[in-house]
């Protein structure tokens, strides 16, 4: 493409996919050294996973068992009883509402913007792109007070829409960067060929571009969902009893007195589950998305 191409190793990576494969095979280390490395990898995986396992184990114990640390104890489902009927349900529904609605808004705004920054770029598109990125570097806490004051003035305090708008603006720059990097993968030749064949813009968008970009779009949506689902600072400041989201509820579910660890672990596990499940399914796409497309 341009001269910068040669200085950009990530672009050439596609050609090396096969090499990487053969290399991985040839480097399938044999003998004792290989066994040690394999064992190390397994130990590391278990160490990193252990806190999550411990959380699940504690959530399956009675409060008195959870209060004395020991590896084995009687298993009980008591901490999960009634979880879905109580305040947890309201918090999870609020979180789902905030995360899904903001993600839909982000995608609706980001797809055209990414298109205007890749397929048919506007002039000065690098400035626009880095403007989006620069808003991500601004410490969010500096916007907390004005947004809090304005939502109060608009009567939006403890209203989930305040959070939806905040999450949309927080995730929009990430989505634009990611989607742009996915859109650049659509071969230029296909688009041109379709146009030569007389395809009009809607046809090109739905029949040529959409099929190539769909997995990237899904990854983008997933990452926006995760960030919105996990956000705490604005949720803490902008919501009260009605619009409380899962992280705020979780932070408030520690009892100041008495035993609460098993119950806390059960709630924590439940609110982590959606992201955990989705992230495991899409782990390949996650890296590329989270690195804003700089890594493939």
């Amino acid at each position: 493409m341009t001269a910068t191409q040669s200085a950009a190793p990530p672009r050439t990576r596609g050609h090396h996919a096969d090499d990487a494969q053969t290399r991985a095979v040839t480097r399938m280390t044999r003998g004792r050294g290989g066994l040690v490395l394999t064992a190390l990898a397994w130990v590391a995986a278990l160490v990193f996973f252990f806190p999550i396992l411990w959380m699940v184990l504690l959530s399956l114990r009675s409060e008195s068992d959870a209060a004395t640390p020991k590896l084995f104890a009687a298993i009980t489902g008591v901490n999960y009883d009634g979880l879905w009927s109580g305040d947890v349900r309201i918090a999870i529904l609020n979180s789902l509402n905030a995360s899904i609605t903001s993600t839909v808004l982000v995608i609706l705004l980001a797809v055209p913007a990414a298109y205007a920054l890749s397929i048919k770029p506007v002039k000065k598109w690098t400035d626009v792109l880095f403007f989006f990125l620069s808003t991500k570097m601004m410490p969010a806490v500096a916007a907390l007070l004005p947004i809090y004051l304005v939502t109060n003035d608009l009567g939006l305090n403890d209203n989930i829409w305040a959070l939806i708008l905040v999450y949309t603006s927080a995730n929009l720059p990430i989505a634009v960067w990611m989607l742009r990097s996915f859109l650049l993968e659509v071969p230029r030749e296909i688009i041109e060929a379709a146009q030569v064949d007389g395809a009009r813009l809607p046809t090109v968008l739905t029949r040529v571009i959409a099929p190539v970009v769909m997995p990237g779009l899904a990854a983008t949506a997933l990452i926006c969902f995760i960030f919105a689902w996990n956000e705490f600072l604005f949720a803490l400041r902008l919501t009260g009893q009605n619009a409380k989201t899962a992280p705020v509820f979780l932070a408030g579910s520690i009892a100041p007195e008495g035993l609460f660890l098993a119950h806390l672990c059960a709630v924590a596990f439940v609110v982590c589950l959606p992201v955990l499940a989705a992230g495991w399914v899409a782990q390949d796409k996650l890296v590329r998305g989270l690195s804003l497309g700089a890594v493939k």
Binding site: F48, A113, V128, A142, S169, F232, F260, G279
Partner: protein, 319 residues
Amino acid sequence: MTALPATAVAGRAAPTRAPRGNGFRTRMARRAPLLPALLFTIVLTQLPFLYTVYISFLSWDRDHPELGKKWAGFDNFRAVFSDSGLRSAVLVTIQLTAMVVIVSVLMGLGLALLLDRKFLGRGLVRTLLIAPFLIMPMAAALLWKHAFYNAQFGLINGAINGVRGWFGEHSPTHWSMLSAHPLISVAIPLVWQWTPFMMLILLAGLQSQPGDVLEAARVDGASNWQIFRAITLPHLRQYIELSVLLGSIYILQAFDAIYTITRGISDTTNLPFAVFETQVDSGDYGLTSAEGVIIVFGTIVVATFALRVTSSLFKEGTR
């Protein structure tokens, strides 16, 4: 914030597909899809910041509405710069970010090297390693604070007591991780969550190494260490820069862990938490805004510098 960092790299950018045709309609048709997102971002990020700048010049105390909002000139900024608490918050922010980013990049690199080979159960190992990154930060902070650090029912003391039990020492220890090492207690959950992320980026870097070069080096008799030093590490450089950049963006803003684990006591207040405290606890809106403004300008300076250093990362984005 401004588009300042953009100009730092824009000079090197040369769009592949220079817009053809300079007619007004063509230009408008190109710009139209961009406008909603641009307007939305400006309204929701730039206007609040301008409001913050405005408030930072006011004397405005939430708890004393009878005093009203008066023009205060630079009083708030003077107060911020003479506040030793805020200076210590700057220090804590740097310490925490450096600690978490360095440790998680190094551990991430180690794990990526371990995973860059075929072995039994590699897929499962990767899946288990990614899991901490997918845990809600609030859940991670609470889990570490109560299930691990807690002096009575935490697992750390539980393990210490277990070992002491083997040596015939049965009185439980009252040692407390939280009071002994408050900042490290905040850092551990962050490292636990960010190491998998660093590993993923660095693993992508390792797997993109040109296989023929590695093969040639091996044929020429290079040792594993020589290959790592001379080929792998230089190749990984931009991936390491990227992971440091992204990690720093997020850890500089760390809030949940500090709010949950220490509430800022014993010198663990970082900048976001300090601004939050001034705002919510003391209610001095003028002061908290001045803090916010200073932090944003500090970030612009640091980010411009960081982007200059690491802009090669996004060169691909300028093709």
